[in-house]
């Protein structure tokens, strides 16, 4: 962390280091048309122009212009350029950490195809290096680095929780079992808050005849390095899964219902490490889809006789492509009672709690405001049951259901499948 007086320097140096061709091309391509604002639930819910996606990278952009473009350099030489100040960096903490889940919805409406969510992730990197990460997010990151878990799941807690789940849910949770073909990794949210999800996934994998195991060493897939915006820490944390998985010689790493872990492990980590991984990384939703398609598991048709809708998670659906499997599950379980929200699939609104926003207390107000967009969508379907494939979304839904006193039931797809397996 940067000491006082070094904050500005550290942040700006981090930005300069992170500017590669892809970032530069995107910053150059933006025409400041402002259309991206209309895609972002944080802007839509608050009407605050500063929540316009591209404005969230304004400091990076200004710095880029001043350092890398001819006209910008000329302005600096003539003393006409406005330098990025420490006060501004502090101001942008709100825009980058509180009001963005890096859901990438804005990139779909940007006429130039700019990956604004990725740029905001980069905007976070400088703030993180300078020690401006929101306090609780930083605390969770420190916990993860020191104890191995943002929620403080140390070895003893882990063992206790797993034993308790095995007994109460009557499932077998193999840990470090030799010869397993698949390694199952969880998010700390599931370990601490949704233990039933762990039991559900175990049941599905057993029913599907998969030789799987968990690992004491590689037990947490959550990655607060990703939230904070530090590629280095993200890689360091992900190594705790990648390393053991390599040593165990598994063919697959199955990520439970955690969107960010999936995004990081499936799409980011290999590039950050600069190597191709010797195993596949899949989301549990993909595994469920495969097992249903191949007939290795069956679920009871028509058991849900009330309207149910599906929430597309930004990291698992829009950024992960797993659109069809959860729909396949819901269509089988609910038939005609399964109704879509509009817009959905790629175009879906994110829940507003991702990207570490839900772990940031100072963001509570804006996070819940963003959720009003979702409330509107769900209410239009008339459904009282909302299913999803991401525990982080689920946490946000549960918090907001409580906060807004909604009479919804929030469901996880894995749990729905496990509860309705045909034996």
């Amino acid at each position: 962390m940067a000491t006082n007086g070094k904050i500005r320097e550290t942040a700006l140096n981090t930005y300069i280091k992170e500017v590669g061709g892809a970032v530069a091309a995107q910053l150059e391509a933006c025409t400041r048309c402002g259309i991206c604002a209309e895609a972002c639930h944080f802007y839509l819910a608050t009407g605050k122009p500063e929540y316009t996606p591209i404005w969230k990278v304004e400091l990076v952009k200004r710095l880029y212009e001043q350092r890398f473009t001819p006209l910008g350099r000329l302005k600096v030489a003539l003393g006409l350029a406005k330098p990025v100040s420490e006060a501004e960096l502090r101001e942008w903490v709100e825009y980058d950490y509180h009001a963005c889940t890096m859901c990438q919805r804005c990139s779909l409406v940007c006429p130039m195809g700019i990956q604004i969510g990725d740029l905001i992730h980069m905007a976070r990197s400088g703030l993180q290096a300078a020690g401006l990460t929101p306090e609780d997010l930083q605390q969770a990151l420190d916990n993860q680095l020191e104890i191995g878990s943002p929620l403080g799941v140390d070895d003893d807690t882990f063992d206790e929780r797993m034993e308790w789940i095995q007994e109460d849910w009557e499932v077998d949770l193999p840990i470090d079992k030799p010869g397993a073909e698949a390694l199952l990794v969880f998010s700390s949210i599931e370990i601490m808050k949704f233990p039933d999800n762990i039991a559900a996934i175990a049941k599905i994998l057993d029913a599907g005849g998969i030789r799987w195991t968990m690992s004491r060493e590689a037990r947490e897939a959550t990655n607060f390095g990703l939230y904070a915006g530090s590629d280095e820490l993200e890689t360091f944390i992900a190594q705790r899964v990648i390393g053991p998985a390599k040593r165990m010689g598994v063919k697959r790493v199955i990520v439970s219902e955690c969107g960010h872990a999936y995004d990081s492990l499936r799409f980011r980590i290999a590039s950050l490490m600069g190597e191709t991984l010797p195993f596949e990384i899949v989301h549990i939703t993909e595994v469920i889809g495969e097992l249903l398609d191949s007939g290795r598991i069956k679920i009871k048709p028509g058991v849900l006789d009330e309207k149910v809708t599906f929430h597309d998670a930004c990291k698992i659906q829009r950024r992960g492509g797993n659109f069809d499997q959860p729909r396949q599950v819901l269509k089988q379980l609910a038939g005609d009672q399964f109704v879509e929200m509009t817009p959905n699939r790629e175009e879906a609104f994110c829940c507003g709690g991702g990207g570490g926003v839900i772990a940031t207390k100072a963001a509570d107000t804006v996070r819940r405001a963003a959720f009003t967009v979702k409330i509107d969508q769900v209410q239009k379907t008339g459904a009282k049951k909302v299913a999803m494939t991401c525990s982080n979304c689920r946490l946000q839904f549960l918090d907001c259901v409580d906060h807004f006193a909604l009479d919804w039931e929030v469901l996880g797809i894995a749990q729905l499948v496990a509860d309705n397996l045909v034996k």
């Binding site: 400041r32 209309e38 950024r319």
Partner: protein, 225 residues
């Protein structure tokens, strides 16, 4: 210098200089961006990145100007969407298919292609001019755009507006004698050519990097860009 000399100057040496500045300026911009380095992507793709990239560019040229990718978002800011779209279509038609412009292209490139009749070109020029005025007004009135817009963005609008306006006057023999308005028209084009590499109007070049990249990234992740 009289108007005839001025005319010869703006369409002769000044135009050549502006064109060279444009070409080398754009090349410089492109090279400096590419030279910043590109990381290799090691994550296995869910569907072909090349196909995704190409399809996305095609779709965004043929479909998205008329049917927005997320309709509900475009509906919230129809002015930017429509005026922006109309301007770009108008620009393309006037600059690429107008008879006088095709002659100018021929003098630079050495070959020509079919043109559209003047009334059609004139129509597109007129709607482009209106679109530019709307876009200008929009930048002044929409709170998001007010926040995002800087002086160079207004200069961009002006520098693009002037060739359109003078071209329109010229076609309709308005305001000034032909030779003078023609001279001014070519001068505004020269200014535009010089301004493009210095400004964000150069976005059309970076478009061919960012748009396919967007398509490729979404395809890699198994989603429709």
């Amino acid at each position: 210098m009289n108007w005839t000399d001025a005319m010869h100057f703006v369409r002769g040496p000044l135009f050549s200089a502006a064109l060279l500045f444009f070409i080398f300026g754009m090349l410089y911009r492109l090279v400096t961006v590419i030279a910043l380095g590109w990381k290799r992507d090691h994550a296995p793709a869910k569907s072909s990145k090349v196909v995704g990239g190409v399809l996305n560019v095609l779709r965004s040229a043929i479909i998205f100007p008329f049917v927005p990718r997320i309709r509900e978002a475009a509906n919230r800011n129809p002015i930017t969407y429509l005026a922006g779209g109309i301007f770009h279509v108008g620009l393309f038609v006037v600059v690429m298919l107008g008879a006088a412009h095709v002659l100018a292209w021929e003098s630079v490139l050495g070959f020509r292609w079919p043109t559209l009749p003047l009334p059609i070109i004139d129509f597109f020029a007129a709607i482009s001019i209106i679109a530019l005025i709307v876009l200008f007004y929009n930048r002044l009135s929409n709170p998001v755009l007010r926040l995002l817009t800087r002086t160079p963005d207004y200069i961009n609008l002006l520098v693009v507006f002037l060739p359109f306006l003078t071209g329109f006057f010229m076609t309709h023999r308005l305001l000034l004698p032909y030779e003078r308005i023609y001279t001014i028209h070519v001068l505004t084009v020269d200014i535009l050519l010089i301004w493009i590499p210095l400004s964000r109007i150069s976005h059309f070049m970076f478009y061919f990097i960012t748009k396919p990249r967007h398509g490729a990234r979404f395809a890699q992740r198994g989603a429709k860009p």
